[in-house]
Amino acid sequence: MRALSPPLQRNAWLLIAICVFLVGAIVSAVRIYQTQTALFWNYRTGTWLVVEAQAEFHNALSAVKSFRIDPSAAALEKLQIRFDVFWSRVPLILESQEGIDIRRIDAILPNTRKIAAKLPLLDADLQRITVEDAASATPFERRLEQLHPLFEEMTRVVLVQDELRYRTGSLLRDTGWTAGAFLLAIGAGIVLIIGNLVNTRRIRTLLAQREAIDQVRATQLAAIESSGEGIAMFDRRGRLDYSNEAFHQLVGDQDRTANLHSWRRFLSRKGARTLLQGLRAPNRQEPWKGELTGRTAAGTERDWEAHVMPRSEGGFIAVIRDLTDRKAAERERTLLQQQLHRVEKMDAVGRLAGGVAHDFNNILAAIFGFGSLLELDLHDRPEERTMVQQILTAAERGKELVQSIMTFSRTEKAERATVEIGAVCREAATMAALSIPGPAVFETAIEPETLAVTGSATQINRAILNLCINARDALEGNRGTVRLAVDRVAADDGSIAELHELVPAAPQQAMVKVEPLSETRTRAWVRSLGPVPAFYARIRVSDDGTGISRGIMEKMFDPFFTTKDVGRGTGLGLASVLGIVTAHGGAITVDSTIGKGTAFDILLPLQEAKVPAIVTGPTLVTGEPQSLADMHVLLVDDDPNAGNALAAILQKIGCEVSYCGSGAEALEVIGDEPDWFDLVVTDLAMPTMSGLDLAGHLRERKFARPIVLASARLQDASLEDRARLGIEFVIAKPFTLSEVAAVIWSIAGARAAQKSDEQQSRDPVCA
């Protein structure tokens, strides 16, 4: 069966059925024919028996007539033989197998029996015939002739019957053939019907299969259509012959009927080259995967990830995913991570530096304190005094350094007051001008308008100075201009608005965003978290120096990063500027071109409405030292270095000093003798009980005398707290003798004035 071709194989059972039917029909037809022939033959031999018997009857009759004409022994013998032959035929009709059929015919048996009955009589007549007497044959002849009608009837009946049989046979044969033909026709019909049924069933199955395939195809097509990835099929000539909706959205082609475009239309030159190389690879039957630069109908280039599979009939299928947005997001994320990393680094460095700075201040306090005492003592020994002055100068630099560290690390909390930027800038300009030597030129352009911001004048001043010094250094001693300009700018002004959009509000700290504008020009933005004001005060420090490269710009706000020679820069200048500006809720923009110069803009939010300027601390009295012999001071400081230094200075200027190492001890001492002390000088940051706490307890116990805070972290005590506790004076650590003296003298002066008032009120007569 396997050797058969598929259609034959399907119809094998049908073929077998046809063969079986044909063989059966042929065998049946042959058997019918044989039976019919045999029957017919039997009958014909029977007929022949009768006909032959009649022939022999005639022979015998002829022989007797011959004898009567010519009576002779030979003729008689011949007659004898003819009669015997005739006789031999009669029993055959009656008894033989061949005669079975004709014996059934009416008149055969009775007639033959009559003839047989006559035979012995005829034999007797024959014996009486003599050669001598011809007439002796007459009885035999007559008797023989009597048989004539019997034979006539028999022959006629048999021949008629034979004719009938023959016709019947013929009819039967014809009927057989007709029946055979009919059977064949029926068989053919059945075969056709079965074939048709089989065929119909097969067609129905095929139709059902095709329907199922169509359905699967429709589902697949729907899936392809709804796919988020662009799918496009190109024919062997590279023309688009199918594409889904997503593909058209990718290429920005609204008209989906506009097929037959070449695949090159959808790729940039570079993308086309990449794809050609990919498709020409040796294993070209496998899908190619890679990134391509696509091109939209509008002509913009997009980043695509593509899977390209060859089609069996030629051409290829491309599955495309747009990576442009994802790549941009990835770039943004990388940038944010870098920025966050930098912020965290700065934060860590800031915390470390802030901690160091605080302890360092106490050390400096001791150096300053004892140094200044020593300087005073050595007034008559100029050589040693110069050495001490060197120590104090170095300590001064150390103090500035610590201040810078505390600024960028934002451990320094500046006083918040209304600051007039113009005034601060003019003051800074005066100082900057001194530090910028020729041949460089220093210019200022400060708006006469009052620009009020909330913040610390000292810090702003320091920031401006830092920028001016950097600008000076950028000139590298060459001829050039450093320019300080101050103006007012709206927050929705072009580039400022851009700043707000481009630099996301940082989660914790300021973030630096560097943007290359060209090969040589770079811009940087820094913005702190805070509400966006309507206006900024813009302080611009610009130079026409060497400019800042992109690489440096990315790092220049980092603490301890410097491009200056060792010993010349601390790497804290811009870090402290950043600290100051972000503490003020401001922003910085830098625009620099290599070889042309740099412009730094400090943007500080302008006050919405006029805030009355807070009265600064009481004016320190400078003048003749007053006698402090009766001034009894209680000094509280947990740090023995700083405490001892301050105690030494106080004693030096004539005060009587009692020293306590903690607030609890001080309370105990005062509790014993509340009126004993004219003044309490206390450190601010102390364990268990701070200076402010101590002041609070003292005021609760009705201690009305002045309290002075001496601290490196004066910003930790707000003006409100100081006002509430009646703390008028402060001493900033590290301190010099003159600074301490100024405070003590001011208090002494106030006390003296009070005493005279009291005296006057007590003794009005004297007034």
Binding site: W41, T45, N59, I81, D84, V85, W87, S88, S96, Q97
Partner: protein, 167 residues
């Protein structure tokens, strides 16, 4: 060959040829069967004529068979056709048999060898008269050999034989 053996062979041939000599003698009674044509032995002109005496002198063989023309199993006794042909020294391939009523049929000589065909003379022990389809009837052993049960054989079973012509 050895001379003694040769002598015995000659004697044997003589004895064999001497036996049928009585059958081939010129007939004395009325002719029962006349054999003519390609034959080597004659006794009356070109023919070999056998009378009743000559036939009865010959060795008989028996065949028991049924026929379409007789009732039941019949015992036929007669001369084997082969012996008759040998007697006549027949050289042809066909026997043209003729009956008393001049009905004739051709019988192949090979049938005499292939089948035990006899020229029957007696039926059930009785000499057959002309009215019993005698005196001679060519009988094939139909019952013993069913392959002979066909129309062709039936037509060759000629009765009331009067002459055989060897062709």
């Amino acid at each position: 060959m050895h001379p003694v053996k040769l002598l015995f062979s000659a004697l044997a041939l003589f004895c064999l040829s001497a036996a049928p000599s009585s059958a081939t003698e010129a007939p004395t009674g009325p002719a029962l069967l006349t054999i003519s044509g390609a034959i080597g032995v004659t006794n009356q002109g070109d023919t070999l004529v056998l009378d009743k005496r000559a036939v009865e002198a010959m060795e008989m063989s028996t065949v028991k068979t049924e026929t379409p023309w007789t009732e039941g199993l019949v015992t036929f006794e007669g001369i084997p056709l082969k012996a008759l042909l040998d007697l006549a020294g027949a050289k042809g391939r066909t026997i043209h048999a003729v009956a008393l009523n001049d009905y004739a049929v051709d019988v192949p000589v090979d049938d005499a060898v292939d089948h035990r065909v006899i020229v029957a003379y007696r039926m059930n022990g009785e000499i057959m008269r002309i009215r019993d389809k005698g005196p001679l009837w060519l009988i094939y052993p139909l019952t013993d050999d069913p392959s002979l049960q066909n129309e062709a054989t039936h037509s060759k079973m000629i009765w009331q034989i009067k002459a055989l012509e060897i062709r």
